[in-house]
Amino acid sequence: MEKTLEQFEIGERGAVKRVLGEGKIKRRLFDMGITPGAEIFLRKKAPLGDPIEVTVRGYELTLRKTEAACVVTEVEG
């Protein structure tokens, strides 16, 4: 099932399928290791619900929901 990262529940995991968006933000997501095939895991949300914290390629990354909406993933179920 296809799902964007900002819709993840805490503890949910998926594999990156493609990254939407333009220029700077997209390149930044790529540079940080969010590329097709990378496994991604939603570790937690900030106390106010946004931004979110994910584990990708073995390290912790934080990004906002608006940026997470650019990350399309494939999740099981």
Binding site: G23, T35, A46, P47, D50, E53, T62, E67
Partner: protein
């Protein structure tokens, strides 16, 4: 001398390695044109001394951030003899992504596989020999922290630096390899150096390269028309990034053998993080830490021991003379630690530094000058101008360093990034990111380190807006103005409560800052909210050595400033207050004939709408002088009050029975000035507000200039400070004097808001039309 560059991701231990290699030889400067630290030092344990340049920490060599552009230009243009690429072994995949870009340049590269101790502690293994074979460049295991493998690393780098190396790429098998090969040959034909690197960046449609090689771009565009990838279409930038990571996962990552196969296991750092960023407790914990820092730095009642146990003051204990002076030398030392309450560590350090060291030194120097045979004006210049100036600046050093130490600990431990994570949501409303919070809160201590801290902000406009509002977070030196004037209002007019007035003024500063940021982000500093895609580094204990290196850098920077710009300005002010227009030397009591008084009287009418201008009559200019003197250093405001009040009492024959003008808190001095000028409560409050929001002290202005790096922005900032303070003070004075003017101000604010919204809507519409 050979020249090596250190390159690597942020948080990979680069600074630790740099400090270990160069020891005390490090020298911090700025890269020309940008505010990114340029650190250089010398390594002396090789056959010849080696200059080491610490490049900024980066994740990639994209054209989007100044740090990345600096790093790539440095390697391409300066051609270091070797690039040492530090790779965090605990985070191999992402760190090697930068490596795949570095090895494309025609420069010798050595990989320093750092944090090997942690990898081994976790029971994991890395086959560095295999990794070396696959990468094609030497790989040396090190631990920068334990200083393991550093000698081997430098010896291998030294050996490599004698060879020449041609760039290699991991994109050989990608769909773009033919195009890259063709472009490389074309560029080589044009005599371009590092043809492989430029070819790949050009294929990525990198904005720096497309500017440089316009004619070769045609080849790529022709190729693009025949090319279609099923996932990426013709987005070559994405294709290249993807190919790099694919290659890393397939070829480099397998050299790491993990003991525990579970991908998302919880480490000790994760457990700590669970508490620190907890859904409910995260924010209270953060507030508690913040409170603890300020309590440890500034509190004169440590842990409230004095209040809780009603401890006796030194006077109660009979340790003071009738004049309130310490009985003997021992009591003087005791007074640095205790007086009715135990002082916090920050205050103790401050007292020892100021009362015992700096105070003694300058007292002794002053005595020497006093006793010499110099003319009275020279004595005045040296003692009141130069010595007082330098010592008042040096007196700032302890709180700045203590505060800076705490913030360095937060930064090094990894908690600072979490604070940004917790607060980002709130700050986004004002068009800022969560990272802007730290510099702002540091402003309560001192604007100078706060402004330097804005370097952590990636977006230039966000940074400018933050630098501009930092002075509104009232710093330690502005506190005496608040307490003195608020105290005088309570004592003389018998209204209100000094604590409440002080608190409300702090609040006023914060509100002004928020309004100003909103205003700037919707007018002159318009722009999208900067993205927030940030690594959250694992927590670890801060390194004592690194902390000391930070503090030493800061001290050097500050002392240098004290002896240059601030010293010069105090001398100028001294001349202006001690000479008349006829160039006659004036005693302290004749200050109202001075050049400064003359100028102040001239500009006095400008301050009439603020309540401390022409309406105050003959001696009203004293408030103007105090405010102007505050531009040098904010503690000058109260110091000037004391000097001026003494003159006023002498000149105006005031009946100030019982007032002690020289009393340190300045409350009585302000009362004397109220008597002489007849200023009212609204005028006094407006005076505080003006001082809080106007141009900050010389040191902060100098820092703002250095940090903004752009002359137009800097001048705009000065205008902004003047306008903000003028408007805020005028509003307070007029509303305080005539309540109905509140409606006029409300109408003006409403009108301005409507105008901005309307103009923004119009320009947005225009932009849309232009697009169509």
């Amino acid at each position: 001398m050979k020249n090596f560059a250190l390159a690597g991701n942020p948080n990979c231990g680069k600074t630790t390695l740099f400090n270990s290699l160069t020891g005390s030889t490090a020298h911090v400067g700025n890269w020309p044109g940008v505010t990114v630290d340029k650190k250089t030092g010398t390594y002396k344990k090789c056959a010849e001394p080696i200059a080491i340049v610490d490049l900024p920490g980066i994740y990639s060599l994209s054209p989007y951030t100044p740090e990345e552009v600096i790093a790539r230009n440095y390697i391409l243009d300066e051609k270091p003899d070797c690039v040492i690429n530090i790779v965090d072994a605990t985070n191999l995949e992402r760190n090697l992504y930068l490596t795949t870009q570095l090895i494309e340049m025609d420069v010798p590269v050595v990989i320093a596989l750092n944090m090997m101790d942690e990898v081994e502690k976790a029971g994991d293994k890395i086959d560095s020999v295999e990794l070396e074979k696959r990468l094609g460049v030497p790989v040396q295991k090190i631990s920068a922290l334990k200083e393991n493998g550093l000698k081997e690393l430098m010896d291998r780098a030294y050996a490599e630096s004698k060879k020449t190396r041609v760039g290699a790429t991991v994109l050989e098998k990608s769909a773009l390899s033919h195009l890259i090969g063709d472009i490389k040959i074309a560029l080589k034909g044009q005599g371009v150096k590092d043809p492989l690197f430029h070819a790949i960046k050009l294929v990525e449609n990198d904005s720096i390269e497309t500017e440089m090689h316009k004619d070769t771009l045609q080849m790529i565009n022709e190729f693009k028309e025949t090319f279609e990838d099923e996932i990426f279409g013709d987005d070559f930038e994405a294709l290249v990034a993807d190919a790099r990571y694919k290659y890393i996962s397939e070829n480099f990552a397998p050299t790491l053998k993990k003991k525990n196969k579970e991908k998302f296991q919880a480490t000790r750092s994760d457990k700590a993080d669970k508490v620190m960023t907890h859904k409910i407790w995260g924010i209270p914990i953060f507030l508690l830490i913040l409170f603890a820092i300020f309590h440890l730095t500034f509190s004169e009642d440590f842990l409230y021991l004095g209040k809780i146990f009603s401890l006796p003051s030194l006077e109660d204990l009979g340790f003071l003379t009738a004049e309130g002076e310490p009985l003997n030398y021992g009591v003087r030392w005791l007074a640095c630690l205790y007086d009715g309450a135990v002082f916090s560590p920050g205050v103790i350090i401050n007292n020892i530094w100021n009362n015992m060291l700096v105070g003694e030194l300058f007292g002794w120097l002053g005595g020497l000058v006093e006793g010499s045979s110099m003319s009275s004006w020279a004595v005045g210049l040296i003692n009141n101008g130069i010595f007082d100036g330098i010592s008042s600046v040096l007196s700032f050093l302890p709180p700045i360093l203590v505060l800076f130490l705490f913030f360095s600990i937060l930064e090094d431990s990894g908690y600072m990034a979490r604070i940004a994570f917790i607060l980002d949501r709130m700050f986004r409303r004002f068009g800022l990111s969560g990272r802007a919070f730290m510099p702002m809160i540091m402003g309560f201590g001192c604007s100078v380190p706060a402004m330097i801290n804005t370097r952590t902000l990636a977006d230039e406009k966000e940074r400018t807006a933050t630098v501009r509002v930092i002075p509104f977070f009232s710093c330690g030196a502005k506190l005496p103005i608040l307490t003195a004037v608020a105290g005088a209002i309570v004592a003389y007019f018998g209204v209100g409560n000094a604590d409440v007035i002080t608190f409300l003024m702090y609040l006023l500063g914060i509100v002004t800052a928020i309004v100003a940021v909103l205003l700037m982000r919707s007018t002159t500093l318009k722009g999208e909210t900067p993205p927030f895609i940030m690594e959250l580094p694992a927590y670890h204990a801060p390194q004592f050595k690194n902390l000391m290196a930070h503090l030493w850098d800061k001290t050097k920077h500050f002392v240098k400033k004290a002896f240059t710009i601030i010293l010069a300005s105090t001398i100028v002010i001294w001349f202006l207050t001690h000479f008349s227009f006829a160039w006659k030397f004036l005693e302290d009591e004749e200050i109202n004939q001075s050049i400064l008084a003359g100028i102040s009287q001239l500009v006095q009418p400008l301050f009439t709408p603020l309540g401390f201008g022409s309406q105050l009559g003959e001696y009203g200019w004293v408030f103007v002088v105090a405010a102007v003197a505050g531009l040098i250093a904010k503690e000058n405001v109260i110091a000037t009050f004391a000097t001026l009040a003494a003159c006023l009492v002498a000149v105006a024959n005031l009946n100030v029975g019982g007032l002690d003008i020289a009393a340190e808190e300045g409350v009585d001095a302000v009362q004397a000035m109220v008597l002489a000028t007849g200023i009212g409560v609204p005028g006094l409050i407006a005076f505080i507000a003006f001082n809080m929001t106007t141009i900050p002290c010389f040191a902060a202005v100098g820092t703002a200039k250095a940090e903004l790096q752009n002359d137009k922005r800097f001048k705009g900032t000065l205008v902004f400070w003047i306008a903000a303070s003028y408007l805020v003070a005028a509003a307070i004075y007029t509303i305080g004097s005539w309540w109905w003017t509140a409606f006029i101000w409300a109408a003006l604010v409403g009108l301005a808001t409507w105008l901005i919204v309307w103009l923004n809507k119009r320009s947005a519409l225009k932009a849309k039309k232009a697009e169509q």
